[in-house]
Point group: D2
Chain length 159, copies 4
């Protein structure tokens, strides 16, 4: 069972899944180039479906790092951190060994305790391989409980 989307039947969550058109309305905040290596592929000759979540995580990390939000540092200073609470993925076309993907981050919605991000993995910067809607929430790491995103972090993320 490999990752390779197609437009088959109506998916129950399709209505609310961010369409490419909708997500295009928020500007791309960050793009990370990701090269596909042997480790990323499976016996079907294409990228294993779970690995897009790795690529999306790398892009979020670099986006935050670029804003000055170092996750390790934040954790040590504030005792809090971002964690993923929800993820929705749609697979459109497969990526293969040696491909280079452009992995994007768009900030769709900013709340007091979480951010909603739209992310895409694009081949040749154009052909959509996988799109995702990812919710990251702020938690108090010691208690593993949701908490308000610190104001200085919010200001960096959403100026």
């Amino acid at each position: 069972m490999r990752a390779s989307g197609h437009d088959g039947m109506i998916f129950s969550m399709r209505r609310s899944f961010p369409s490419p058109l909708a997500s295009a309305q928020a500007p791309v905040a960050f793009t990370l180039p990701v090269r596909i290596y042997w480790e990323d592929t499976d016996a079907g000759g294409i990228v294993f479906y779970a690995n897009y979540l790795k690529f999306f995580e790398r892009a979020r990390t670099e986006w935050l790092r670029g804003l000055g939000v170092g996750q390790q540092t934040l954790h040590e200073r504030s005792g809090g951190m971002f964690v993923v609470s929800e993820a929705a993925l749609k697979y459109h076309r497969p990526a293969r060994l040696d491909d280079e993907l452009a992995v994007t981050v768009r900030l769709q919605h900013t709340g007091q305790a979480s951010l909603l991000l739209a992310q895409e993995a694009l081949l040749c910067g154009q052909q959509l391989c996988c799109e995702a809607s990812i919710r990251i929430g702020w938690i108090d790491a010691a208690r593993m409980k949701p908490a308000r995103i610190p104001p200085d972090v919010l200001r960096l993320v959403c100026p």
Copy 2:
């Protein structure tokens, strides 16, 4: 950014995300025990969020194998295969090193070209760590195009 759900704000896809109550209506077709090893964890001390997709894939594979649907065999015989086209995940509580998860498969909907599955990863068989809604579609592997699920496969999956 680690996997550890919480009930923060309203997620845009929440309305259509299969609630535990809804998914409980379809009986559990298969349960796979999954032990958490070092490889599954991350520096936050918990299971890395992408790895639940590995666990869900293992459970789907064993569910199909138990029904007599060998994926490798099918591919060689029919030239077709199941691929994941959509996945939605909700993270409720973290799993940790040495935990044993019960990973379930429920058949939510059967179409001519795809199946909709509800899957859960439960701690101690009860506490929900992660739930997912996964659509797997049948494709003609040579052309990588959606196709009708062969009738004998459909009969095995949904008798």
Copy 3:
């Protein structure tokens, strides 16, 4: 570059690499069955070479668990833990999707600060896919420094 050994040229470390004959002298202390899933394979259609280290780690963990050596518990009680300090692998023949491997643990040598293990991944319980020589050392986790293995742990591992 995929994992699939062959007996090509003389490898510089071959002289000292534990031969199947030598490692056969220590009895198999533990065997773990490991099923190969999509996540384990690569675009060459075979198990990705790094993943044997995952399988060997799973087998070591279950071997220790069977002896009553819970790693998490030990860490909390003694502040120490086993870490891998050296690993040598030889790839003999590829394993593929749906294969079931028997992954073994043999205790080759017991020292005061480390154990030397011989491990094998066998197809159908017979054909050698990958063999490894793994050294695990005991460390004081707080200082990340080598330390003596606690006597009660040594007694469990090597009665």
Copy 4:
């Protein structure tokens, strides 16, 4: 059991393991920067020991790509490919989340059917985290049998 080397007892393969001094004699042919993400770490807070094999593979791939040896292309043109037949790793100090490693490739020995490479993962370009000796052999992919490295590939790798 996490990856974190120490200089404990004499390892049986130490005599023949390429020492930093010995490997320094072959010039560094290629260096790849590798950032450590959540996916690379484990619950011990450090890079999981198998993942260095991923980093080393990425560096070998980029080294070959830089020489004009595209693995996918070669496979299609010649029906052959490089596979790993032996690997020896020594873990010196742990790498952590957000660290950036310099991963090197040195060509130690060129044979007719295989290459012996020395690889290192260095923190801040200096502190050795993990060193490896990797043998890659050429195989006829259809028969999965060792074969002579094509002369034009050898000329590119070892001018």
